[in-house]
């Protein structure tokens, strides 16, 4: 069957090229729609990876009670020792967070200050440029996530200043957690002193790693219970729940955006189907001639579906490829309250774009193909 289709491939391609303006416009429309679909998909995937991965479920975040913006959460560092004494706690890492913008922004810069040695153990970071030793030894050194480096054109040795913060880039890192690549890490001391006297001895949040077999939710309850008597009451949640709560407004928007993704698919479907219907209606007589020559109605059906599939797949693949390239090169992220969602390309997204383009192309061609294959030959020949 494929061999037979191959023999008719020049006919399919030349037919599409006959109305090249119409074909190219349809390919363009499909490409734009798939571009938007992939963008929406990457945001959703970024959110899912941020909130649903294993680390996000196992790690606990201790934050000041009833506070959301990192500038307003102030936990005394002696809480680290108190939490470490609780059974089921493997490690506690204090993190000072500073962001240039607490509201939702596409160019958020987030500084996380943490003890460098502890950071290296707690995070899955791979330096792709620069070196750790400079980061660990130099007071104002920072390692910069790949996305931030891309956006701000930072390389090891650069001096980066924003607001009251000024750091020397010691390295650029990548991470298995895409959101991490939007963060700039400094030492805890630097960030505390950099922000002024009021922040010395203070952390924005504490990251707690439970030991194997410990129920994170139960541990969170015990942490809040133990710190209730301290100077600042706390709310402890899993990292995923904390991030979802922090990004709640954005989460609602992103949830809504998936309808935008479906709308894009509907757009491609109707666009390709309309073009194919127009093409079929222009060629009712031609299809009758082909049937007179001996092409079965089922073969006419397949030829029309092939046209639709080809247009949609070319458009879809172009849109997907451009979207993935833009996502890869742009290093884009959206964030709020110091938490970011990375827009990253992925193999899964590429595969989804290809499969959807192919599938939508086939579905879009079915109705016109039925129309082309079912028209009585004599009636169609008389229409010429």
């Amino acid at each position: 069957m494929m061999r037979l289709f191959g023999r008719f491939a020049p006919y399919v391609v030349k037919t599409l090229w006959r109305h090249r303006a119409r074909t190219l416009l349809t390919v363009g429309g499909a490409a734009v729609a798939m571009f938007v679909f992939c963008f929406v998909g990457s945001v959703q995937e970024g959110l899912r990876r941020l909130t649903a991965d294993e680390d996000a479920q196992r790690t606990l975040i201790v934050f000041q009670e009833n506070r959301f913006c990192p500038t307003s959460s102030r936990l005394p560092l002696d809480y680290v020792g108190r939490i470490q004494k609780l059974p089921g706690v493997a490690d506690v890492m204090p993190v000072q967070v500073w962001t240039n913008n607490c509201r939702a922004s596409l160019d958020i810069v987030v500084f996380n200050g943490a003890p460098p040695r502890q950071l290296r153990q707690a995070r899955d970071l791979t330096l792709i440029a620069g070196n750790w030793s400079e980061f660990e030894t130099r007071r104002d050194a920072a390692i910069v996530g790949r996305n931030v480096a891309q956006r701000r054109r930072l390389v090891p040795g650069s001096q980066f200043s924003i607001g009251e913060m000024s750091v020397k880039v010691a390295g650029v890192f990548s991470s298995s957690v895409p959101a991490e690549e939007n963060v700039i890490y400094t030492s805890l001391d630097f960030l505390q002193y950099g922000r002024g006297q009021d922040f010395i001895g203070i952390a924005t949040q504490l990251e707690v790693k439970p030991t194997e077999g410990t129920d994170p939710n139960e541990l969170a309850r015990r942490i809040d219970e133990a710190l209730k008597s301290g100077p600042v009451a706390t709310t402890t949640r899993s990292k995923g729940a904390f991030q979802t709560s922090t990004l709640s407004d954005l989460v609602d928007l992103i949830d809504f955006a998936h309808w935008l993704g479906y709308a894009c698919l509907a757009l491609v479907l109707s666009l390709v189907a309309t073009t194919t219907v127009m093409s079929v209606q222009d060629r009712i007589q031609e299809h009758a001639v082909l049937q007179t020559l001996g092409l079965r109605p089922s073969r006419i059906f397949r030829l029309v579906v092939a046209e639709s599939m080809l247009v949609c797949t070319i458009g879809g693949l172009c849109g997907t490829a451009v979207a993935l390239a833009a996502l890869g090169l742009g290093g884009m992220a959206i964030g709020a309250e110091g938490v970011t969602i990375a827009f990253r390309p992925s193999m899964q997204l590429a595969l989804l774009g290809c499969v959807i383009s192919l599938g939508v192309g086939i579905v879009a061609g079915v109705f016109p193909a039925i129309q082309a294959s079912r028209t009585p030959i004599v009636t169609a020949l008389r229409q010429g």
Binding site: P10, E286, L293, R296, P297
Partner: protein, 233 residues
């Protein structure tokens, strides 16, 4: 046994409240190598009969048997396969596929046959040579004259070595000089290659090139001599 046997063929159409029956109980035998022309007033069912022999239309009753196969009993798909292997159709308006070259247009029917690429190529070249268009193989229909287009249509009709070739007013859209060229070509194909032909025409001069001339009137076929045919028209 005749190559084409038409028995008791009836076909009716509904036009508003009126039922028109252009063919009623028609019988006809076509022998291998025959060149038959069919004439008659408009609406007498010439093209309808041709379409049913071609397997692109179905009778209300009766049977058509071609080379031992009763085509009136075949399904749509089987009928398409039968057409691919046994039928060559020459249209009045050429009906070439505009995006394909003359070579590709002629090649189309042979793509459906179980033959090798080399054999296909040979057949296409021979068909184009037979109609005198070897030097126009790479031309698109828009680059050909009306007569050349019709010759490509004829090459397309004979490329699969069909059992029977039907022609629906093959000179109907051509000027007088080109019409004569096509008539000569059709006659030559029938004589030299022994192709069985069934042709519908309104032109008695074109009908005269056939070896058998039929006249259709009030649903019936009458076989005539050439001079009678001219007189009737």
């Amino acid at each position: 046994m005749a190559l084409v046997e038409i028995r008791n063929l009836t076909k009716s159409f509904r036009k508003g409240d009126e039922v028109i029956t252009p063919l009623e109980g028609v019988d006809l035998d076509v022998e291998s190598g025959d060149f038959i022309s069919m004439m008659g007033p408009s609406g007498t069912g010439k093209s309808t009969l041709l379409n049913m022999v071609s397997g692109i239309d179905r009778p209300d009753s009766g049977a058509i048997t071609v080379d031992g196969v009763e085509i009136t009993k075949l399904s749509r798909g089987k009928l398409a396969d039968w057409r691919a292997a046994n039928l060559g159709y020459i249209f009045q308006t050429h009906n070439l596929v505009p995006v394909l070259t003359a070579y590709e247009n002629v090649e189309l029917p042979s793509l459906l046959l179980p033959i090798s690429a080399a054999e296909r190529c040979k057949r296409v070249e021979l068909a184009l040579e037979a109609v005198g268009l070897s030097d126009r193989a790479d031309h698109y229909p828009r680059q050909l004259s009306g007569g050349q287009e019709q010759r490509v249509g004829i090459a397309r009709a004979i490329v699969a070595h069909p059992t029977v070739v039907v022609a629906d007013e093959p000179t109907g859209s051509l000027d007088a000089a080109t019409s004569v060229q096509i008539q000569v070509l059709l006659k030559r194909l029938n004589r030299e290659l022994g192709i069985t032909m069934l042709m519908v025409t309104h032109d008695p001069n074109v009908a005269a090139i056939a070896t058998r001339r039929l006249y259709l009137d009030r649903g019936q076929i009458v076989e005539t001599r050439s001079d009678e045919l001219v007189g009737q028209v």
